[in-house]
Amino acid sequence: MSHPDSPLVKAVLANAPGAFERLVREHQALCWHIIYRMVRHPEDARELCQETFLLVHRRLRQFRHESALKSWIGRIAYTVALRHMERKRIALFDPGQDEDASSPIDKLSDGFDLETAYADSEIAARLHQVIETLPPLQRTLLTLYHLDELSIDEIAVITGLASGTIKSHLFRTRLRLREQLEVFYGVAP
């Protein structure tokens, strides 16, 4: 087998000392990004991350290398977070939010000064606040795409969503954030 994940998977299955700990260390950031972005509660997110890796350990024999190990673990983390949100009756996304999302393109102006934007960390803080108010799914997709630098296809494997749906969410959310950014700067539409 020439898959890059194979040696680590084999080592974990053979109970090699430190192998599972290495697997956790390599993938814990992705797991945390998915679960914390979805759940937002740090303690719950930490417990769900642990639950995810216990499931990974239990199910590793079923891993068939059909996708990267990273995507497979991400899929488990996403499912664990989703189940938690269903139990807590938290909505994954706001279906009404997208209805008028095509109009902001027209509202946005070109009068934006990047130098000022970077100089003002308050703007970044305010954008973070807006990101926090986004529905869990949009938040997670943005983080996976920009922070974890996953491709649309990898995100599709993790979330089970169609590529077009992911692109649509990314597009509308970034547009909304850009609109918010320009509102902070008081740029007249």
Binding site: V24, Y36, F112, Y118, A124, H146, K167, S168, F171, L177
Partner: protein
């Protein structure tokens, strides 16, 4: 997003601008772009910042410890169940011996059967003795 020519569709143009901003931030290119692209780059830059919280530094070792603990628990349960099964088998054997004691006694009184049993048992017992191993060659 769609299969139309990028220049024809405002949504497509906007999407390409977003992607251009993402690529520019990923590659750390200089910011001498048009204003609209700069605003997307500012958004992308915020999106690329680490989250406000993180897992504890020893998270991986904690999880590995938990896995080992659960494995030890499973092993203990298996051992316990093995002992229970063995006890049931011994009890069943004793029950059979008691039920058919007459037949068993007749076997013990037959010298040929006893000799046969000794032929099987003796090598096994001798093999258990310390220092009583066959030398190779």
């Amino acid at each position: 997003m769609t299969h139309e020519t990028p220049g024809d569709n405002p949504v497509e143009r906007e999407w390409m601008l977003q992607e251009q901003a993402a690529k520019a931030e990923r590659l750390g290119l200089d910011a001498h772009d048009e204003a609209k692209l700069q605003s997307y780059r500012a958004v992308v830059r915020v999106l690329r910042q680490p989250l406000d919280r993180d897992l504890p530094l020893d998270f991986a070792s904690q999880v590995a410890r938990e896995v080992r603990r659960q494995a030890a628990d499973d092993m203990r349960l298996e051992l316990y169940l093995s002992w229970v099964l063995l006890s049931v088998l011994v009890l069943a054997l004793l029950g059979l011996v008691a039920r058919y004691s007459g037949l068993v006694l007749s076997w013990f009184s037959n010298p040929w059967l006893m000799a046969l049993a000794a032929c099987f048992a003796l090598p096994v017992l001798l093999g258990k003795l310390p220092g009583f191993h066959r030398r190779p060659g």
